[in-house]
């Protein structure tokens, strides 16, 4: 109950701050007018981040008033490489990254050697989207519901690419919901792990909801648990992890889903010029509420779910404070595969 109240206060405070800042930002700034802005996508040209960043780019450029928005991809280390790079970039606001904010929070907690930054010191400029994530099992698997998984007399085999946010999520689920986990790392990518699950080499894996839609429809995969905070209307019978947790473990899962919901976001280096931060946040706000963008996102089946930069900053600071309890679980999971 205690964490609940804290959360409530945090969210209220955040929205209050957000509201004020939103008004302040409404006075249009000329900070980016006719400048060239570099946008670094933390992921490969074919990945989801790229898809979203490129969808939003024209609108963002328009609302920034920038003469050009130069997009480049920096992949590696599941987004850590771009984050390490952003940590050292000149904080004039002319270089901004777009990537998965949850990786930035998870990796340092787990003590990942690849993370050379402090997540909360980045300037978060707004969330573009947060997609519900689900635990999927293979269509032919004997596991039909999450209860079947809990009754399993052997460890749940989880094919994984390595220590990405889904790996951390899985480790937390296993601890909080009480089932044994065997992570098999070394798979090359989503195609590889998906095939392992469909084939039955592995029991299940976590993906974004849209990514597995086709496989669910054809019966190749079956969703058994939502790992983000709310049930998904298309699958009303699939419970969320938070619902199933005992009172003692619920806080942990709430912290986890809060981290996951920070998802695809814009961020700038620490100590970025406040004028730049305000101007960029305002532009992200305007771009993601632009009716033309919303129409395009709906047409292309790429839903956006905007969160204001100020609000996000406060939320991330709160999340980072609250999620210290996850550290032992994540560190143990990393140790188990080494």
């Amino acid at each position: 109950m205690k964490t609940r109240t804290k959360w409530l206060i945090a969210v209220m405070a955040a929205s209050l701050v957000g509201g004020f800042a939103g008004q302040a930002a409404a006075q249009k700034s000329d900070y980016y007018k006719d400048k060239v802005v570099n946008l670094i996508i933390a992921g490969s040209p074919s990945g989801g981040h790229s898809r979203y960043a490129r969808l939003i780019a024209p609108y963002l450029q328009k609302h920034l008033g920038a003469s050009e928005l130069r997009i480049s991809n920096m992949r590696g280390g599941g987004g850590l490489k771009a984050a390490n790079h952003m940590w050292r970039v000149k904080p004039d606001g002319m270089t901004v990254a777009f990537g998965n904010a949850s990786t930035l929070i998870f990796a340092p907690i787990a003590g990942s050697k690849g993370a050379k930054f402090i997540a909360t010191e980045f300037a978060f400029l707004g969330r573009a989207t947060s997609e519900p994530r689900m635990l999927m099992v293979g269509g032919k698997s004997s596991i039909k519901t999450f209860q079947d998984l809990q009754k399993l007399d052997r460890p749940f085999i989880y094919p994984s690419q390595g220590t990405d946010e889904d790996f951390y999520t899985m480790a937390i689920l296993s601890d909080a919901l009480g089932f044994k986990l065997k992570a098999v790392t070394g798979y090359e990518g989503n195609a590889d792990t998906a095939l392992a699950v469909i084939k039955g080499d592995g029991d299940g894996h976590i993906t974004g909801w849209s990514e597995s839609q086709a496989a669910i429809k054809s019966g190749d995969k079956r969703p058994i648990l939502v790992v983000t905070s709310q049930r998904i209307p298309d699958y009303p019978d699939v419970p969320t992890a938070i619902e199933l947790a005992s009172a003692g473990k619920r806080g942990m899962l709430e912290a986890m889903s809060n981290i996951l919901e920070t998802h695809r976001s814009y961020y700038a280096p620490p100590k970025t010029n406040p004028e730049a931060v305000a101007a960029f946040r305002a532009a992200v706000d305007a771009a993601l509420n632009d009716p033309a963008l919303l129409a395009e996102s709906k047409k292309g089946n790429r839903p956006v779910s905007f969160m204001n930069g100020n609000q996000q900053q406060a939320a991330i600071e709160q999340i980072a404070r609250e999620s210290g309890g996850l550290a032992p679980v994540l560190k143990a999971a990393v140790k188990a595969i080494q």
């Binding site: 490969s44 040209p45 074919s46 990945g47 898809r51 490129r54 480049s72 920096m74 992949r75 590696g76 280390g77 490489k81 390490n84 990942s112 050697k113 690849g114 050379k116 085999i157 094919p159 390595g162 220590t163 065997k182 098999v184 790392t185 070394g186 798979y187 090359e188 990518g189 989503n190 195609a191 590889d192 998906a194 095939l195 392992a196 469909i198 084939k199 080499d201 592995g202 086709a214 496989a215 429809k217 054809s218 190749d220 292309g300 089946n301 990393v334 595969i337 080494q338």
Partner: protein, 507 residues
């Protein structure tokens, strides 16, 4: 199914689709010729232009561009020993020696024709195998991928002429280089010396640009004179020679196409392995295996046929499961969703005509590439005769830009130069660069699949998985066969000699 085959073609016969196919192919050829830039870059750059056109035209543009890059990359491998992309590396092994012998036109012709035949055979096999794609994809797993990689290793022997020890040293060096970076199983940094750049490992295309292209230019500079001196070596061949070669080795083309198709179908087995595997297979089944690496046209035909067929295969996991088989396909998938095509098993039943449209596009794009290729080959073949004062700076600058362009990192340029120096000395002291490459490509594949197989199936997985066991036995037999054959031949010779002696004594 016949309806779908015809229907798929009819959709494509619009002026817009045909024009887009041509644009895509020409653009792809140009991107392919630049080292370091391949199909993925070509597709990523095309993607923004794909909204708002008819479906067939968009697919024509994308697939045309993707297929154009393949032969474009082969061209530079053959003419300058500069692999245009990692997957066309195998073309360097025999294509470049052919160029040096004055048979550049023949090599280009054979390569273009090989790609076309591979594309066509690949498409035909693809159409036939649509019903069995899903079961086969589900039957093969990490332990079978491991066996494929192990089979790939056997080719080290082919390149270890003179000294097997030197060949092994080169291969092990390649393995060690591949281990630089975050380890794929535990995400522990290996050999990175706390450098953030090294965390992602040494980029394969960059290392190849150095190892082959830069090293070659150093060699040319030291030696003086052009790659091909027309006053000494006359261009003796024509494009038709190459075309004839491809048709003469039709068995090889068939085998290579099948191989390419299935390597494309399996996610987790990349096209760069495909080119090498095709080469290995060609060397092992050839009647003149000792000619490989010295300009055997079979070594040019096989990789190109495999790469031609690979594209069609790569479509399969994308269409059947909605799982992109490679990064190029992942970008195609993005375009599909933009076009409102939902990939999944329904593609192979309800939307079969669309699948055949794509198969036709692969065929038509290959046809266009080959026509253009055969047309320009005689002109391209003149390039290696350029004076080194023009050639060396030109190729070097393109290579360094290519090294930079692969990931946009200046450190990669330094890496390319480092590998250039390494490549130069390896070549000078006869440490096979091909073995180095094989070690580098296969190391990660072996590590990955060995680890997964051990964790999933236990320590004795080779004996508990029937397909794996069969492949293992096959590897042992194909590796042992040449030894057994040569021993039998020697024994027969000895017996013949002693019989003669006995006869001599008797008389």
């Amino acid at each position: 199914m016949l309806d779908a085959i015809v229907g798929g073609l009819v959709v494509l016969l619009t002026p817009q689709a045909m024009a887009f196919l041509l644009i895509g192919v020409v653009y792809g050829l140009m991107i392919g010729i630049l080292p370091g830039l391949g199909g993925i870059v070509a597709l990523a750059l095309l993607l923004p232009f794909t909204y708002g056109f008819e479906v067939a035209a968009t697919l024509a543009l994308l697939l045309g561009g993707h297929i154009g890059t393949i032969w474009g990359s082969s061209v530079t491998s053959i003419l300058f020993n500069v692999p245009g992309a990692a997957k066309s590396l195998a073309l360097c092994f025999d294509g470049y020696p052919m160029t040096k012998r004055g048979e550049a036109t023949r090599a280009l012709g054979a390569s273009a024709m090989g790609a076309l035949l591979g594309g066509v055979f690949g498409a035909v096999f693809l159409a036939i195998s649509i019903p069995i794609v899903r079961p086969i994809m589900l039957a093969l797993g990490p332990s079978e991928y491991l066996m494929m990689a192990v089979w790939g290793l056997t080719i080290i022997a082919t390149f270890s002429e003179g000294s097997l020890l030197k060949g092994m040293i080169a291969a092990v060096l390649g393995v060690l280089i591949a281990f630089i970076g975050m380890d794929i199983v535990t995400a522990t940094p290996r050999f990175t010396f706390d450098s953030e750049f090294l965390m992602d490992g040494v980029s394969f295309p960059v290392a190849m640009i150095g190892m082959f292209a830069i090293a070659e230019m150093m060699k040319l500079y030291v030696k003086g004179g052009a790659i091909v001196d027309r006053s000494v070596v006359k261009e003796t061949s024509t494009v038709l020679d190459g075309v004839r070669d491809a048709f003469r080795h039709w068995g090889l083309v068939m085998r290579s196409s099948l191989l390419g198709l299935w390597i494309g179908v399996l996610p987790g087995v990349g096209a760069s392995v495909g080119g090498l595997a095709a080469y290995a297979q060609a060397a092992q089944t050839s009647k003149n295996p000792d000619q490989f690496g010295k300009g055997n046209v079979e070594g040019v035909i096989a990789p190109d046929a495999t790469l031609g067929a690979n594209e069609g295969g790569g479509l399969m996991p994308t269409l059947a499961f909605g799982i992109p088989g490679g990064e190029g396909m992942a970008i195609l998938l993005v375009a599909f969703i933009g076009l409102g095509i939902v990939p999944g098993p329904e593609m192979l039943t309800k939307n079969l005509d669309l699948v055949f449209s794509m198969v036709w596009l692969v065929v038509l794009a290959n046809l266009l590439v080959t026509l253009i290729g055969l047309g320009v080959a005689p002109y391209l073949a003149r390039l290696p005769t350029l004076h080194p004062n023009v050639m060396v700076p030109l190729v070097l600058s393109v290579c360094l830009i290519g090294a930079f362009a692969t990931r946009g990192l200046i450190e990669d340029v330094i890496v390319a130069v480092g590998f250039g120096i390494l490549g130069y000395f390896m070549d000078k002291y006869h440490y096979s660069r091909a073995n180095f490459v094989i070690g580098m490509v296969l190391a990660t594949m072996i590590e990955r699949n060995l680890h997964i197989s051990l964790t999933l199936y236990g320590d004795y997985f080779i004996f508990t998985r029937p397909v794996t066991l069969a492949m293992f036995v096959f590897i042992i037999i194909t590796t042992a066969l040449p030894f057994i054959r040569s021993r039998r031949r020697r024994r027969a010779q000895r017996e013949a000699i002693s019989a003669q002696r006995a006869e001599g004594r008797a008389t």
